[in-house]
Amino acid sequence: MDLSFYAQLLLNGIVIGVIYALVAMGLSLIFGVLEIVNFAHGEFYMLASMLAYFLTAHWSFDYWTTIVVVTAVGLAVGYVLFEGLLLALRGEAFERSILLTMGLSMVLQNGAVFLFTTTPRMIETPLSYQNVQLGEVRLPVARLYALILGVAAFAALYLILHHTRLGKAMRGVAQNRAAAMMVGIDTRVVSRLAVAIGIGLSGLAGAALAPIYSVHPLMGFAFVFKAFAIIIIGGLGNVSGAAIAAVMLGVIESFAGGLLPLAMTDAVAFIAMIAVLLLRPQGLFGRGVRV
C-alpha cells in the first residue's frame, strides 16, 4: 500500500469519472432543456458500445474511425428519438416522459439481449496491451485516449453552451421555456439539438469504453444508475455540475474499490446521492448557473 498504489487508484478514478461525465452530461443537458429524465440513456450507451464492438471486431475499423462513426450515429439517433418520440410529449406531465423512456429502455435492452445474448464480448485491438508508464503508475493507452476524448468533449460542450448563439438559446430554454419562446427562440430546434448532443455524448462514451471493459446488453442499466446519482449530486440540469460530480464519484469509487468490500463500492454512488439530497437538495452545484 505505497504511494504509487494510491496514485494508480486516483488515475483510474479520474478516467472512469470522465466516462461517467460523458453520459451524465448528456442526461443532464436533456433534463435541463426538455425537463425529461431519459431513462433509456444507458441503453444508448450500451448500443454504442455494441456498435463499436461490431465495427472493430467484424469490419476491422480502427480506433479513431470507430469513435467518429459511433458518435455520429449517436447524434443521428438522438435526432430521430426527439422527432419520433419525445416531440409527442411536449408540455405533458412528467410521468409520461419517464414511462415512455422506460418502455424504450425495456425494448432496447431486452431486444439487445434477444439478438446478442448476455455473453460479454471483449474487443481485441492493438491498443489493448499498450501502456503508458508514468513513474510507477501505468495507464493503458485505451484509457488515456478515453480521458483525452472526455476532456475534449467537455470543453467542446462548454464552449458551445457559453460562446455560441445556439448554446445561449439552449441555456435560455433551460432557464425559462416560455420566455425563450417569447424572444423568438425555436424551442423545437433547440430541444432537438440538446437530445442529439446528449445521445451523441452517450455514443462517444460507449465507443471510448468498449476497448476498456467487456461489452454486453446489460451494461447500460448498471451505468445509468450511476449517471442518475451524478446528475442529482451535481444539481439537476446543471451540466458542469454533472461533470464535476462525475469525476468526484469516479475517484471516490476507485478508492472505495481498492480499500472497501465490493458491496460497499456499489453503494457509494447511492449513499452519496442520499447524503447530498439530505444536506443540500439542490445539488452540490445547484442554483448557480443552470446548464
Binding site: V37, L85, L99, G103, N110, F221, L236, A263, D266, I274
Partner: protein, 334 residues
C-alpha cells in the same frame, strides 16, 4: 353499480376465489391464483403511491425483495417464526421507504422517480455482492415450508393450496386496506395532492406527510407479500429484485388506470395470466411489455380506468336535448 350491487359482487368474487382450491387441485390454476394474489398487491401498492398521490415509484420491487430477504434470513438463520419474520421484513421495508421518500421528496417528484429507480437497482446489486449476508448470486435454495402458529392452531404451509389460501387471504386484507384508505378522507387528500399540489397545500394539506404515508403503507404491504411469496418459490436469490416485477406492476397500473382501484385489480388479473399466454415468445416478452408501455403512453395515457372516467364525464355532460327534444337555443351575445 350501486353500493349494494358492488358489495354483492365483491362477496360473490371472494367466495369464488376461496372455493377454487376445493374445486380443483390443478397446480397450474393454483399457481396462477397465487401469482395473481402476489402481483395484485404489488400493483395495488404502486397504484396507491402513483395513482393516488402522484409519485411514480420504481422502488416497490425493492420493498418486495427486502421483505423477502429479511423474512428468509430471519427464519433460516435465526429461527424466527414466520409471523415475526414477515412483520420485521415489512418494518424494514417501511424504514427504507421513509429514507428514500423523505430524502428525495425534499427536492422534487423527478428526484423521487430517479432515486426510487436507483434504490431498486442498488438492492439487486447489494444482494449479489454481499455474500456474507445474502449468499450472493447463488441465493438460498430449498427454503423450508413455513409454519404459522396461532393459539390452538398449527398450520404447516406445504401444498400449493395452502399457499393459495395464505396469499389470497393476505391479498384480500391488503386490497381491503387500500380500498378503505383511498375512499376515506385520506384518499381524498391524496387525490387532491395529485391533481393540484399547490392548491392542496393552500388548503392545509401537507403533501409530504400524505405521500410518505402512502409510500409506507405500500412498502409494508409489498414487504409482507415478499416475505410470504418467497416461501412459495422456495428459493431466494438476487432475481427477487428483477426488473420484471417492476414492469409487470407498471403495466398493470398503466393499463388499469392510475388512481382506479378496480381497474388496476382487473388488469393485474390479466397480467397474472399473460406470461403464460405469451409463453410462445418468452424471449420477447419484455420487449412486448416495453412496446405496450410506449404505446399506452402515446395513445392511452389514462388506462381503462381513465377511459371509463372520461366516458362517465361525457355522459353527464351530454346535452339535455338528447333526452327531451328542445328547440335550439339562440346563441348568447359574446
Amino acid at each position: 353499480m350501486s353500493r349494494r350491487g358492488l358489495l354483492l359482487a365483491v362477496i360473490a368474487g371472494l367466495v369464488a376465489l376461496f372455493a377454487v382450491p376445493l374445486l380443483t387441485d390443478n397446480d397450474y390454476v393454483l399457481a396462477l391464483g397465487i401469482s395473481f394474489a402476489a402481483m395484485s398487491v404489488l400493483a395495488g401498492g404502486l397504484n396507491l403511491v402513483w395513482g393516488y398521490t402522484g409519485l411514480l415509484s420504481f422502488a416497490q420491487v425493492g420493498f418486495f425483495g427486502i421483505g423477502a430477504y429479511a423474512a428468509v434470513l430471519l427464519v433460516v438463520d435465526l429461527g424466527w417464526s414466520l409471523w415475526a419474520a414477515v412483520a420485521a421484513g415489512a418494518a424494514l421495508s417501511v424504514a427504507v421507504a421513509l429514507l428514500v421518500g423523505y430524502s428525495s421528496l425534499r427536492l422534487s417528484r423527478h428526484a423521487f422517480a430517479i432515486v426510487s429507480l436507483s434504490f431498486a437497482l442498488l438492492c439487486a446489486i447489494v444482494a449479489r455482492d454481499w455474500p456474507d449476508l445474502t449468499r450472493g448470486s447463488m441465493g438460498i435454495p430449498g427454503l423450508p415450508p413455513p409454519t404459522l402458529t396461532l393459539p390452538g392452531l398449527r398450520w404447516r404451509i406445504v401444498d400449493p393450496a395452502d399457499f393459495y389460501y395464505l396469499l389470497m387471504g393476505f391479498a384480500v386484507i391488503a386490497h381491503g386496506l387500500i380500498y378503505v384508505v383511498v375512499t376515506s378522507r385520506l384518499g381524498r387528500a391524496m387525490r387532491a395532492i395529485k391533481l393540484n399540489e399547490p392548491l392542496a397545500q393552500s388548503q392545509g394539506v401537507n403533501p409530504l406527510s400524505y405521500r410518505l404515508l402512502a409510500l409506507s403503507l405500500s412498502a409494508a404491504l409489498s414487504g409482507v407479500v415478499g416475505g410470504l411469496f418467497v416461501f412459495y418459490l422456495t428459493i431466494i436469490d438476487p432475481s427477487i429484485f428483477d426488473f420484471y416485477y417492476t414492469e409487470t406492476m407498471l403495466i398493470s397500473v398503466v393499463i388499469g388506470g392510475p388512481g382506479s382501484f378496480w381497474g388496476v385489480l382487473a388488469s393485474s388479473a390479466v397480467m397474472a395470466a399473460l406470461p403464460d399466454l405469451l409463453r410462445f415468445t418468452t424471449d420477447l416478452r419484455m420487449v412486448l411489455y416495453g412496446v405496450a408501455l410506449i404505446a399506452a403512453m402515446l395513445v392511452f395515457p389514462g388506462g381503462i380506468g381513465g377511459w371509463l372516467y372520461r366516458r362517465r364525464l361525457a355522459r353527464w355532460r351530454r346535452p339535455q336535448s338528447q333526452l327531451q327534444p328542445q328547440p335550439p337555443q339562440p346563441k348568447a351575445a359574446p
